[in-house]
């Protein structure tokens, strides 16, 4: 402050900042990326540890005996499912009742805004069946949830079988202090959403469902199970939930601890842990794992049924059985014991899981990066925007080079009218609103006039509006103020820079991955753009760094990291489906990524586009 109150030194500082601005920005950018990539390097990360005392070491022996019987139940379930041609509600109700649970059903229906071509559904109608194991001598105040989706086809029957087997075993135990809800949900996430909204008596997404008849107090934690074969080789832990929310790290620790105890191979992002961190392969491996997590989190989708619980402040994960590493087998009994152990530990909880981290990245199951370590990477990128803004501010304040004697008597620059700044901002936001609303509203019209399906209509409308936005607004200021001034674009760019900085900062606080990925592409664009660049080259660079293209790169990278590389045309097809999924996620589950991109990020980028075409 003393530094700033001294006019001479302030002058020196600002001149330093303006003189060294570009090198500083370059250094910040590189340092940010390097910091981020360094997060995956094992010596820089922390080892996970159990923070919650109630789940610490206890001498509990897992005794679940009847894995084989559970699988037989699963087969019976499959037969019933085939017979009914959907969810065998009556059979499930009867089976759960026979196991001594209080059984309830909930039916729901939902019409999607447009057909979901990935899952081939449009009018969804289903029933959730859940049975409550009442804890002896507990007054129905707390509950745990074990859920298994009843998916169409031949998958996940084993999970339902195991769920019923566990219900039978749990029912004969006396030690439960929390009610346990065994939930079989139809139509995976839609059913789960209906059940959760019913349980909490809210309606966020406008779904039709019957009210729940039985409840068990506030849910403390939930596990969701997906198995598709009798014998699995490894269990994958899925953490990423809606809007990039993550469950408390202790839940992941709990899973890891029990996998180690029972000798089950466990993976995260489908990647096994490696011990050779000092080799380049080892580093690449953990970097890939972390990148996958970042990409999944940035997508804001629920990557398993657990993802929807997080909104209700219920810690939840999905355990997904994978059958790929041929030489290693885990049978259903061991899986049952794993779940038994986890449930007994969760049953011991005195408080909600709150001790450990909620914001973290995991380069492997036993290592994590906490918010304090990864935020600087984003901070370095965001600093570029501020440096650039400072530079512009100084330029606007003193446009003419200051003469040597210090008493430059130049004319104060004509301030650009508010209108010339406001118009592009308003227009670009209106484009954003159009991008947000029109695709769904105008799908009928589009289907009438073009030979496309509804889904294609929605996606293509979105892309059309996105592209039209590029052509639309960038000459409006001339209509308003007559002529463009040098000051005009500076003020506009300053506004855009600050807007982007605030936007990305807020996003990164909630969903670091999304904020970081957007910053990686948008920050260079925002930093470099001026009207004095060669137009065609600049336009090309801007388009390549636009949010839409960012999605495209992410898909490409994601496929590559998942060891399922795609060619460019395949990637384009995926791109279209991802956009439709994003819109669907928003309407079905209230995911905020699509509105964020359409209403804020895209308009912000349009402002920069405006700067480029300032004449």
């Amino acid at each position: 402050m003393g530094l700033l109150s001294d006019p001479n030194r302030r002058k020196a500082l600002t001149s330093l900042l303006t003189r060294l601005n570009t090198p500083l920005c370059v250094v910040c950018y590189l340092a940010g990326i390097a910091w981020f990539m360094g997060l995956a390097f094992e010596p820089f990360t922390l080892r996970t540890y159990m923070s919650e005392n109630a789940m610490g070491s206890t001498m509990v022996e897992e005794r679940f005996p009847s894995g084989e019987r559970a699988l037989a139940t699963g087969r019976e379930f499959a037969a019933q499912k085939k017979k009914v041609g959907g969810m065998p509600v009556d059979w499930l109700v009867k089976t759960m009742q026979a196991r001594g649970l209080e059984v309830f059903t909930q039916s729901f229906s939902r019409t999607l805004p447009f057909p979901d071509e990935n899952k081939e559904r449009f009018m969804v109608r289903g029933t959730n069946v859940y049975g409550i194991l009442r804890a002896p001598r507990a007054p129905r105040t707390e509950a745990l949830v074990l859920s298994a989706p009843c998916s169409p086809g031949n998958s996940n029957n084993q999970a339902v079988g195991l769920l019923l087997g566990l219900a039978q075993y749990f029912r004969s135990q006396i030690y439960w202090a929390k009610d346990i809800i065994f939930l079989v949900n139809e139509h995976d996430l839609i059913g789960m959403q209906a059940w959760l909204e019913g349980y909490h008596h809210t309606n966020i997404t406008g779904m039709d469902f019957t009210p729940l008849q039985g409840r068990a107090g506030s849910i403390q934690a939930a596990l969701s199970m997906e198995l598709s074969s009798d014998v699995i080789t490894s269990l994958d832990l899925v953490l990423e939930g809606l809007n990039g929310q993550l469950p408390n790290l202790d839940l992941a620790n709990l899973f890891h601890a029990f996998c180690q105890k029972l000798g089950i191979l466990c993976t995260i992002q489908g990647k096994l842990q490696r011990n050779d961190w000092d080799s380049s392969e080892g580093y690449t491996h953990s970097a890939q794992t972390m990148m996958l997590m970042v990409l999944k989190q940035a997508s804001g989708r629920p990557w398993g049924d657990h993802g929807l619980f997080l909104r209700y402040h219920i810690e939840a994960v999905t355990l997904r059985g994978i059958n790929s590493f041929r030489h290693y087998k885990t049978d259903a009994t061991t899986l049952g014991r794993l779940l038994e152990g986890m449930f007994r530990k969760l049953n011991n909880l005195l408080e909600r899981l709150h001790q450990s981290y909620f914001f973290y990245l995991m380069p492997s199951l036993s290592r994590f990066v906490s918010i304090g370590y990864y935020m600087p990477a984003f901070g370095l990128l965001a600093a570029i925007l501020l440096l650039r803004a400072l530079d512009l501010w100084v330029q606007i304040g003193s446009p003419a080079p200051v003469s040597q004697d210090g008493v430059g008597e130049t004319e104060p620059p004509s301030n650009p009218g508010v209108l010339s700044i406001l118009t592009p901002i308003v227009i670009s936001h209106l484009t954003g609103v159009a991008l947000y609303t029109l695709p769904i509203l105008s799908q009928d019209t589009a289907v009438e006039h073009f030979p496309v399906s509804e889904t294609e209509a929605v996606v293509l409308t979105a892309i059309a509006i996105y592209t039209a936005g590029l052509a639309l607004p960038h000459n409006t200021h001339r209509l308003i103020s007559g002529e463009a001034t040098e000051q005009g674009w500076r003020v506009l760019k300053l506004a855009a820079l600050l807007y982007l900085a605030v936007l990305l900062g807020c996003t990164a606080l909630i969903n670091f991955s999304l904020g970081f990925i957007l910053a990686v592409t948008l920050v260079p664009a925002a930093a470099c753009v001026t009207p004095h660049m060669p137009k065609s080259l600049g336009a090309l660079a801007m388009v390549l760094l636009s949010p839409g293209c960012t999605i495209f790169y992410c898909i490409f990278l994601f496929q590559d990291l998942q060891e399922a590389p795609v060619t460019l045309p395949e990637c384009c097809v995926l791109f279209l489906s991802v956009i439709s999924q994003g819109i669907l996620d928003h309407t079905l589950y209230g995911s905020l990524i699509y509105p964020l991109l359409a209403l804020f990020v895209y308009p912000c980028w349009l402002l920069l586009w405006n700067v480029l075409f300032w004449k």
Binding site: M1, S5, G100, R134, P136, R137, T141, S218, H313, H354
Partner: protein, 651 residues
């Protein structure tokens, strides 16, 4: 060491004195010996005199003892029949022989096989004391069967009626039907004080603390923030028709955990303790291996006889347990006393005037549902909870009940599948709706399953102050139409002082669900007000629904004396309906909770920020800015020095 020596001498003395005793008196009752020994112990230096006295006649000495306690009691003995009865007692009576009919004790156990396969066992112990010790000038300090600790408490705090229950678990009305005596999860205490009490709150506070000591429970956590004065829901169950609710206090502790430390003092109040009678069945490791456990103490004044010539005190101790089919019964519907309690009954409590076991056989008239072994020819029919039920009766005071083995182990073996249970006419549930930590909504659903009768219910909600109820959002909806309550009593909360109290009289249409919703805002507590486990959440006690439910059969309005204990707790005033109280689940609500590890970081951070910002702002604000003269060249300064020396004005 000194203590050890002292005790050794005492032992020697005792042995010495007892030797003298056995030498002089022939009957040598050991019990008396020890008593006398203790007496003699103090007067050993005086030697032989006391032993002389005792040798005269045992009975005399006992008389003396009675007298001495009587003298301690008070001087106003003349009106009391009890004392005269005591004096009349024959000289040769034993120490523990009961004086005629001053108080009497009954015990009974009801076993109801439930449709779900579980089994419900309800113990009731009733001690009746035929004096009214709260009356002025009628102070009693001799207690025989009635526990002294409770009697003193009643007279000290002028209690007219006291009901306390400790419950672990939630009564599942939908599967188990109505219980004989309902209780909410946790601890519940409601007390009617005499209208002579001047400071009810003070009495209440002391009473809760004393009870807390007697029952080893956390009742001392009852304070003004969880005590309410319900205006209509809790009427006195005993004699007297004072209904001024200023003398009533009601509090629940939903979080109270009930365990053996509460059971032991409760058992100690029984005349036979857990040594004889039905109470031998109460092994805590079995009682707590169940899905529901509730123990209660109800004290009220009742009519002494059917003419109601004078008042008497009644102490009812009840204990209800539900044993689970899967955890206790290993999934087999075979129950026996031994399987349930790991004990059998071998005798009645010798102090009990009646001791019976009832088994509900209403659904099993021909023995097609379950086998009851040993069979009993004695059946009784009574109307309880609006239904006429038949019970097999085992009278433990008769020797033939125990058969050859001298022990009774009732066996109930299911043969067939029980049909569906009739839906209970009235039941209720409650939950918190919404998510997030700012607001929420309490939903109470009340079901009237009667096919054609509407009846009114009284709903009582007591909500802690930190949930700020928005009463303007209160809606009551039955059959998707608004239902206007005919009576509302609402007492708003005061922060940190008293809870919300909401009482409503709502008419339930036949065969309907009535939904009562009210929104609330979660308050931010002060940081010292959080419990040690704030992330567990905060409890809201059960809401209470009291109703007169239309009865299917005509209720018995005879005086309760002749009926079994379990069917005579709530008075029946008219034939067409019976009284039911239903408790909903307690709620667990999360309040906005700070991260308690953060204050350190926050303090560090704020101190730094304040120091830096304050320092520089202060600097900026107090500094005077002025244009600094460019400094003069060295030659000029030198010249000026010389000029000053010369006395010429500087350049």
């Amino acid at each position: 060491m000194a203590a050890y020596k002292w005790s050794r001498t005492a032992v020697f003395l005792l042995i010495f004195v007892s030797l003298i005793h056995t030498g002089k008196s022939d009957n040598g009752e050991t019990l008396n010996d020890s008593v006398k020994g203790e007496e003699a112990d103090q007067s050993v230096p005086g030697e032989t005199q006391p032993s002389d006295e005792s040798s005269s006649e045992n009975g005399d000495a006992e008389q003396k003892q009675w007298y001495s306690t009587d003298l301690e009691m008070n001087d106003a003995l003349e009106g009391s029949k009890a004392e005269s009865g005591m004096n009349d007692s024959p000289g040769d009576s034993k120490l523990f022989t009961p004086p005629p009919a001053k108080d009497h004790f009954q015990e009974e156990l009801v076993i109801r096989p439930l449709h779900s396969g579980d089994i419900y066992a309800n113990f009731q112990f009733r001690t009746q004391l035929d004096t009214d010790f709260v009356q002025e000038g009628n102070k009693v300090s001799h207690y025989r069967l009635f526990p002294k600790s409770l009697g003193q408490l009643l007279s000290k705090f002028s209690v007219r009626e006291l009901h306390i229950s400790f419950t672990q678990g939630y009564w599942r009305t939908m599967q188990w039907g109505q219980p004989f005596i309902p209780a909410p999860p946790g601890a519940e205490l409601w007390v009617w004080f005499h209208d002579t009490v001047l400071d009810v709150d003070e009495n209440w506070k002391e009473l809760t603390n004393v009870l807390s000591g007697i029952f080893c429970a956390s009742l001392n956590f009852i304070d003004s923030t969880n005590t309410v004065e319900p205006s209509a829901s809790f009427k006195p169950l005993g004699l007297g028709n004072v209904t001024d609710h200023r003398f009533l206090r009601y509090a629940t502790l939903p979080r109270e955990i009930v365990c053996t430390e509460n059971l032991t003092p409760w058992k100690k109040l029984l005349p036979c303790g857990s040594k004889a009678g039905l109470a031998v069945l109460m092994k805590s490791e079995k009682l707590f291996h169940s899905s529901f456990h509730s123990q209660a103490v109800h004290i009220r004044s009742i009519c002494k006889d059917w003419q109601c010539s004078s008042a008497a005190w009644e102490l009812r101790q009840t204990l209800s347990v539900v044993f689970d089919l899967y955890t206790s019964g290993q999934g087999k519907k075979d129950w026996s006393l031994f399987k349930m309690f790991s004990r059998t009954v071998t005798e009645a409590c010798p102090l009990a005037s009646s001791s019976k076991i009832y088994v509900d056989v209403t659904d099993n008239p021909e023995g097609e549902l379950f086998d009851l072994n040993p069979a009993t020819p004695v059946l009784t029919t009574t109307v309880v909870l609006g239904d006429r039920r038949t019970y097999a009766v085992y009278d433990l005071t008769k020797a033939e009940t125990f058969g050859q083995l001298r022990s009774l182990n009732l066996l109930i073996r299911w043969k067939g599948e029980a049909g569906d249970m009739l839906r209970p006419l009235l039941h209720a549930e409650r939950y918190v709706a919404g998510f997030g930590l700012q607001t929420g909504e309490i939903h109470t659903l009340i079901y009237n399953n009667h096919p054609y009768r509407a009846f009114p219910v009284l709903l009582l909600e007591s909500v802690p102050w930190y949930l700020r109820l928005y009463i303007h959002t209160l809606t009551i909806i039955s059959k998707s139409r608004e239902n206007k309550p005919s009576y509302i009593h609402y007492q708003p909360s005061k922060d940190r002082l008293r809870p919300h109290l909401l009482e409503m009289l709502v008419q339930l249409p036949p065969h309907s669900v009535t939904e009562v919703t009210v929104q609330f805002e979660r308050a931010l507590l002060k940081w010292t007000e959080y419990t040690p486990d704030p992330n567990h959440g905060f409890y809201v006690g059960s809401s209470v629904i009291s109703a007169l439910v239309p009865s299917v059969v005509a209720m018995d309005i005879k005086s309760p004396q002749e009926r079994p204990l379990f069917s005579s707790f709530f008075h029946v005033k008219e034939e067409s309906s019976y009284f039911v109280r239903v408790y909903t689940e307690p709620l667990l609500v999360n309040l906005p909770t700070p991260d308690f590890s953060m204050p350190y970081n926050v303090i560090c951070l704020t101190c730094t920020v304040v120091a830096v910002a304050y320092g520089s702002f202060y600097n900026l604000l107090t500094r005077t800015f002025q244009v600094e003269e460019p400094s003069q060249p060295l030659a000029k300064r030198l010249a000026n020095v010389i000029r000053r020396i010369r006395g010429v004005p500087p350049l």
